[in-house]
Subunit: 311 residues, 4 copies
């Protein structure tokens, strides 16, 4: 079957097919995540060398990044410190456990399994260089670079994360007790909670996956922002660990390295071809967007993007 | 950096670089695996649309497939029963545990985590259709298809697996106690031990990864042997589960879906570009070939084959 | 509150109180265990220096020992090989896991946690001295000693255990793969399945706990059968591991070292005071007799036998 | 063998025998625990109805209670709220894991396994009635009752626990995330760290085990301080969970319900006969005093106190 054309009609069709699924619901582990229109279903695609396209069934508004933001410290630290240093801080193996597993950390530690789990991302936040304000400026700097613009932090989500984040506190103190952290627990968690609280519009999410698809070079300008090495490592981590303990299923269905977040965003990369973002806040018990996966699977099939197989 | 030419010189260089590493040793869990020249180091590449190339530092001889043979029931059953049925028998998630983990099976079961672990492959063997001889003939049929020729079973390895396979027996009885098996334990294990005992020459290993790289169509003849769907699923499983709990590290270094075996073979796929086999019997404690990984990493770098990134 | 008199009336009252509880059901992991009158509720007590008393709500018949038989290899091997040798074979720590846990064995092994779990008892059976017939004779010898008479093996329970014991086979092969067994798997399991299949009448079960209560000396005759050392170790293991992962709850309620079996028998010891056996085949998901525990708790309260506290 | 007389000579002999063992060292998880004479070896015994005896190889000074203090909230809450309420807060099963295991809590929770593990004791501290000062006064009240005098809190140990208690913070936040705590994390930990920091002289430790041995009645005065019910439950928990994952071994060797602490104190109870305290700061990797166990085993043998067997 030869691939379809990438058109608005295709995206609309993908959204409408996904809408038929009524499973899942907005994450409720922090109250603010529930205050989102749970039927919002949207997709945006940036094919390399062409204009981006997007479709949404409802008007869009900014939504927090949650775990998709785990890409930021991963990429920033890879660029600044290199992969050898990074792999001193975290491993890069899928864990088979859920995103907030403490067992995994205790039994297979002391290093967190990978940077896409909470324990790994918290550890990486603690190794952002500098102290206090400097670390926040580092985050701002990398957000600017990877999203090509500033993003704001949603203050009520941030406050809510801080107020309710007992499980992440538990992870952070366990990490501290094993000397994994480069910054003290309280400041590390402030960084981590801020990271999760960045918010972006759908199309703002598209720059990063397109940049990765293009090997670190901005598709429009030809400017190299990330090294090829960083892109490769990042894609490999997304391919093996990007959707927690559903990554295998995701790769079987889509063949696209991706990273999900409980707010409903999932970003996906077709190396050499396109960057993608899907959005739907109905998540399953694994914390992955159900309709998001349906749209990615449909798009992968329609475009023959699964591992870019030739036939 | 533009990619190098794929030449015999490049392969020779990769072998010689790998030879510098003296770590690891031949697997000894069955005595016959130790009776191999542990310094043998070889690579063969089948670029799509070109002639295959290979280089070995020592004369070659047939070597058993071990876990690389787990591809056979996976692909055969996918083709004959479809993925929905297959995923009734096994899950497709990386487990974070070693290849023979019983804990993983007990705590996260009843289904085995994925078809690349012993528990998953044993389960799949039990669902090969027919009884006794028919099941063996099914295996022969699929070996013929996926290797484009008959392979023989090494009788002393088979006998050795049978004699020493207590851990696999333990897995099989646990599976039976949970009603996961379609055939009784003893016959299932005969199939599984036979599967591991197929042996092939280096170049005989090349047909399968080239077939997968070409989306299921034989590169030479243009004949479709496997559906695109089967190829996609197989590649996704290799990408997330192919090297046990080193799959993440492997993907970070090479960006190539692969499957390893304790005998020293690893097969790898660059979708749309090439099939690869590397061989070196010095394996690490995870059961993966150390020099094999070094060669794959070097080849991926030299050819820019890591996720086929454009720059 | 001063203790009551031990009378038939008290036992009758305990049985009738226990009968009010309708929870639990006969174990069904082997078919023969279901073929028992599940409302049978009985108790027998042998106070040291007095006549034994018993009461049953239905006519009694022989019932298999199941896990209460794990006492036999434990005591026999302690007597013949001493505790140092025994603790080379098994540990003596409560495991927090269920009786057939494989996880526990894999992660905390190689030695089984304690002789009251299946893995521990299977290991001990494999170290019964001799070969084949000799090992069975050893069992017969120790049954004769500890029950003061021969017991017969229920052939249909034995056959059923053999036919359905996949999980125990799984444990045994895992033990073999770690070199824990002194006899091969198949013969070891024959011993273990035979052990579980001994059957006894209620009052036949009373000799052993009375012997332990009396420090190894037969209450009637004054003959020493077991060393004090063996009795102490046995009581300590019963107190910490006798009811799987309900041992803590059992000790809180009764203060009596005990050993349960899924057939419904539980034997209990009040050191220096009495041996007890209760019987009711309604077991809970942990494999412990529900009414049996109610009777033991009631008896312990009535007689002030909880840790033999003075007031 | 008839039991020996309980004399100062016997105690001296036990101390000198224990001194021959040079294994273990002072706990170092908080710096202050290391500042103790690690060769200090002492024992005190309070036989019911007789004068207490003690012997020490070095001059004594106050030492912190550490985990032996876990008895205080357990007993106080049992007395005030009863066992049904207590078992709503914690389970009473040995866990097979070490004292600070988070895995156990995550996988077998939400309730902590038992009150003798850190997770269980932290949970119980959070349910001490009142707020802030009232909770501390509750502790003072129960210390007064169970030790028959005020004890002081060692301020540098308390400060050190607070400064270094990351693992306990991790446990507490995990408990909070599962809604196990009755007080917020920070105040709960203040109570817990204070609890561990009480310090006492050797003979001050003797009142509590003697009280338990005597069923809750003060041996001297005949005044009932604890209910029989509370004593029974406490003894059962000590017998099954008192020495973490060495409780089985301890019971095999001594037959005495006991509770250890990393500072080197272990208190033990012979129901109806005696209360005992041993002290030696050389602890093993499980956190139990090595010489303490040697002395208890020797005393149990000498006095025939193992489960109070008659012969």
């Amino acid at each position: 079957m030869s691939p379809k054309q990438l058109t608005i009609n295709l995206l609309e069709e993908l959204v409408h097919t996904a809408e038929l699924n009524q499973e899942g619901k907005t994450a409720n582990y922090i109250p603010e995540l529930e205050n989102v229109n749970q039927d919002l279903t949207a997709i945006a695609v940036q094919p390399l060398g062409e204009s981006s396209l997007s479709y949404s069934n409802y008007p869009l508004h900014p939504i927090t990044l949650q775990s998709t933001a785990k890409m930021i410290p991963l990429i920033g630290l890879l660029e600044e410190f290199g992969n050898e240093q990074l792999f001193e801080w975290v491993k890069v193996e899928p864990s088979g456990d859920d995103f907030a597993s403490i067992t995994r950390l205790e039994q297979f530690g002391p290093k967190p399994s990978n940077p896409m789990l909470n324990a790994g991302a918290i550890t990486l936040c603690s190794h952002i260089p500098g102290k206090g304000e400097q670390q926040f400026r580092w985050l701002e700097h990398w957000v600017q670079k990877l999203f090509n613009q500033r993003l704001s932090i949603n203050p009520s989500v941030f406050a809510s994360e801080k107020r309710t984040g007992s499980r992440n506190r538990s992870l952070a103190y366990l990490l501290e007790s094993r000397h994994n952290l480069g910054t003290d627990v309280s400041e590390t968690l402030d960084l981590y909670f801020a990271l999760c609280s960045y918010e972006a519009m759908l199309e703002q999410m598209l720059f990063l996956p397109a940049l990765l698809a293009n090997g670190g070079i901005v598709p429009d300008s030809g400017e190299r922002i990330l090294s090829t090495e960083t892109c490769k490592i990042t894609l490999a981590i997304m391919a093996t660990c990007g959707l927690y303990d559903e990554t295998g299923t995701h790769m079987v269905k889509t063949g696209m390295p991706a990273k999900s977040g409980v707010s409903g965003y999932t970003i996906a990369v077709v190396p050499g071809k396109a960057g993608i973002v899907v959005l739907s806040p109905r998540v399953n018990t694994k914390g992955n967007s159900i309709r998001g996966e349906i749209m990615l699977e449909g798009l992968s099939k329609a475009m023959n993007w699964h591992f870019a197989l030739p036939y």
